[in-house]
């Protein structure tokens, strides 16, 4: 399926190119710049490089939003079905409020809030290493002198991860994944420090910060706005899944002497996951598509960059085909991933997808 998605995207791109002669338009210099590009960008870069950066921006914003909303959405969804009336009311207030306000309004609101933060000279600082200003969030970044220095932490991460995997055998899958991730990170950090990979702290020089890693305001506003909005939706999905577990099973758990938290963790949640995974997947797809709202605040994601390209270069059909092809490919890859996860969690034989892009 993944290969199919990539091939589909490539075919659309190929057809688009053949329909208008050689793909030279993609190699043209753009002549315009974008606000933020993960791989570095100048006005002299070719169009395909700009589009690649835009796709990376889209994926980056989507992934961060997906992670945040999944965690927060599960917590809020659990809160909504809680027996504690105060917690249930609070979660209900949250979901009812933020589901009914448009996502664009929330994104633009957060962009204004973040743009009205103090300038860099008076930025808010945390622990002397993290700075928040109206230009974005500055974080410390690893700094290496040569590429060889990266080899040792990578080896350490792999080694520690493998060790953790072996040491945690017999434990639940989630615990093993957590152990591998944590120990890999710790090993890489320790060896990196030993080898001499330093930390590049953002330092105020003159009017702005030098060094470090900057998360631009547009990115932050988009992620915060979308996270707040989609947490409410995912909370509803989780709530639906939790309510679908039959009461008899919960009562059976309680009659076995399990405490309330154990009933939730061992009985309700695993069974609820069957009903949750597919709608959760379609919410993930919606998140990826809604990152296109970044165009309204100047974030260089796929839609904004392609529409700008259409306006500047005039290659309407080709660039439209490129945009549709890229969104389609991302969509198919993500939907396939969701279907794989669903196959592990679902009851066999209960679901037949209605269409190719329906997870």
């Amino acid at each position: 399926m993944v290969a199919g998605g990539v091939i589909a995207g490539a075919v659309v791109l190929g057809v688009a190119q053949r329909a208008s002669g050689p793909a030279a338009f993609l190699l043209e210099r753009t002549g315009w710049d974008v606000s933020s590009a993960p791989l570095g960008q100048t006005a002299a870069a070719p169009l395909w490089w700009t589009i690649l950066n835009a796709v990376l921006n889209t994926l980056l914003a989507s992934m961060v939003t997906i992670v945040v909303t999944t965690l927060a959405g599960f917590l809020t969804g659990l809160g909504r079905v809680s027996a504690n009336p105060v917690v249930a009311a609070l979660c209900r207030l949250y979901t009812d409020l933020f589901r009914n306000v448009p996502s664009l309004l929330q994104v633009v609101f957060w962009y204004q809030v973040l743009s009205h933060l103090p300038v860099e000279r008076r930025a808010w600082s945390g622990f002397g290493a993290v700075f928040l200003s109206n230009r974005g969030l500055y974080l410390p970044a690893p700094a290496w002198a040569s590429g060889v220095q990266l080899l040792y932490p990578a080896l350490a991460a792999g080694g520690m991860g493998g060790l953790a995997w072996w040491a945690s055998r017999g434990r639940p899958y989630a615990v093993r994944c957590g152990a591998v991730f944590g120990s890999g990170l710790a090993g890489a950090a320790a060896v990196g420090a030993a080898v001499g990979i330093g930390v590049d702290l953002p330092v105020l020089k003159g009017f702005s910060f030098q060094g470090g890693f900057r998360l631009p305001t547009e990115f932050l506003a988009l992620v915060i706005g979308l996270s707040v909005f989609y947490t409410a939706y995912i909370a509803e999905v989780v709530r639906g899944g939790l309510l679908s577990v039959e009461r008899g099973l919960l009562e059976a758990g309680r009659s076995l002497g399990l405490r309330e938290m154990q009933v939730h963790r061992l009985v309700r949640l695993p069974l609820a996951l069957r009903t949750i995974v597919l709608p959760l997947g379609s919410q993930y797809l919606n998140i990826v598509k809604t990152t296109s709202l970044g165009a309204a605040i100047g974030f260089a994601e796929l839609f904004g960059v392609t529409s700008n390209g259409i306006n500047m270069s005039g290659h309407t059909f080709e660039l439209l085909a490129v945009m549709v092809g890229l969104y389609f490919s991302i969509n198919i890859v993500l939907a396939s991933g969701v279907r794989v996860i669903n196959a592990r969690a679902a009851l066999v034989g209960l679901h037949r997808p209605a269409s190719a892009t329906d997870p």
Binding site: N84, N100, F109, K289, S292, T316, V324, A354, S355, T357
Partner: protein, 357 residues
């Protein structure tokens, strides 16, 4: 008979207390939630009312208040609600909005749910809306569609999208289950393609491609091209919902229709579609509510609807710091419509369950 011990009736309130403070975690959560609610509530109350310009009179309240300055709404509400509509004719915009609201409320009344009554209602309502807004007849001056804006334009785009999109959705669902594979693949391709692309992209593509694809006389103003794209997007999602509903209607229904000698289109229209519609009512209502919120996205393609006029309202003049008040005002408008629609959807759901087992 042996005497069985009667259960001791619980003291009133013990269940509530045990739910709130039964375990340490519960107590922490209760106290934490109450604290959060109180802090947020007090902060919002202070910003919106106590420290705001509502309690401060005088000509220049915004200079002195620490909280919200609602004068920006008083100064800009015409721009937000009516856009660039001519000042003297704004009563027509108000009348148009009232017509659309009355139309929506009337559509919600179950007594009017026959095809003839609904079509007549919408023809009259929609027609009077266009006459009021555009004018040119009955002594009303002509106002072109590029002067329409704000809430009136949002309502117009929303209502037209639903009106155009629902028949298109039914048509797409019909084609999706056609006997000819070519039609099935075409409909499937359109639905899947439109659904995998963001709404802005569909509307943008429609706005750009419409001049190429449509004959000259259909090339209306930008509003109609945008509505076309938006209706296509709505139709694709609604067609998927209807398709799922049609799949849920058992094959026995279709076979009974065939046994009675009904042609395929009658089976579709009189047997399958009403049941599919009722089965998928919750999902359809969610889609319709979502479409109202999605009209905000049209600001990106340059349509001067509620979201765009809100942006313009505070970005000009001396109001550039007062974005919060404008967004809260517009957010309340969206919230009001959206919440009312979802409450109505819940009512529909409860009502339709009465007819089923």
């Amino acid at each position: 008979m042996s005497a069985t011990a009667r259960p001791v009736p619980a003291q009133p309130g013990t269940k509530l207390v045990s739910a709130l403070f039964g375990s340490p975690l519960n107590s922490v959560l209760t106290i934490g939630s109450v604290a959060m609610l109180l802090l947020t509530g007090v902060a919002i109350l202070r910003w919106a009312v106590l420290d705001s310009s509502l309690l401060v009179g005088g000509p220049e309240p915004c200079a002195t208040v620490a909280g919200a300055c609602w004068s920006v709404i008083a100064a800009r509400y015409r721009l937000i609600l009516f856009g660039l509509y001519p000042y003297e004719e704004q009563w027509r915009s108000v009348a148009g909005c009232c017509v659309v609201l009355a139309l929506s409320v009337a559509t919600c009344v179950p007594a009017l749910w026959t095809v003839r009554r609904l079509v007549a209602l919408w023809a009259v309502g929609f027609g009077s809306f266009v006459v009021l807004m555009q004018g040119g007849v009955a002594g009303l001056s002509f106002v072109p569609t590029d002067r329409w804006g704000g809430l009136a334009l949002t309502l117009f785009v929303y209502v037209t999208t639903i009106v155009v999109g629902t028949p298109a959705a039914v048509a797409l669902a019909w084609l999706r289950r056609s006997e000819r594979p070519a039609l099935r693949w075409l409909a499937g391709g359109v639905i899947d393609g439109v659904r995998s692309v963001p709404l802005v992209a569909v509307v943008f593509a429609a706005a750009i491609l419409a001049p190429f694809l449509l004959p000259g006389w259909l090339n209306g103003d930008k509003v109609y091209r945008v509505i076309l794209g938006f209706a296509l997007f709505f139709a694709a999602y609604e067609a998927t919902i209807l398709d799922a509903g049609m799949q849920a209607v058992g094959p026995g229904q279709r076979e009974a229709g065939l046994a009675l000698g009904l042609p395929r289109w009658r089976i579709f229209w009189f047997i399958v579609m009403p049941q599919a519609f009722r089965l998928t009512l919750p999902a359809s209502v969610i889609q319709v509510v979502g479409t109202f919120k999605d009209t905000s996205v049209l600001a990106i393609v340059g349509l001067f609807e509620l979201m765009a006029s809100a942006n313009v309202a505070y970005q000009t003049g001396q109001w550039s710091e007062h974005y919060k008040e404008v967004y809260v005002f517009v957010g309340l408008i969206y919230f009001g419509f959206s919440y009312a629609l979802s409450l109505y959807g819940a009512f529909l759901e409860r009502r339709s369950r009465v007819g089923l087992h």
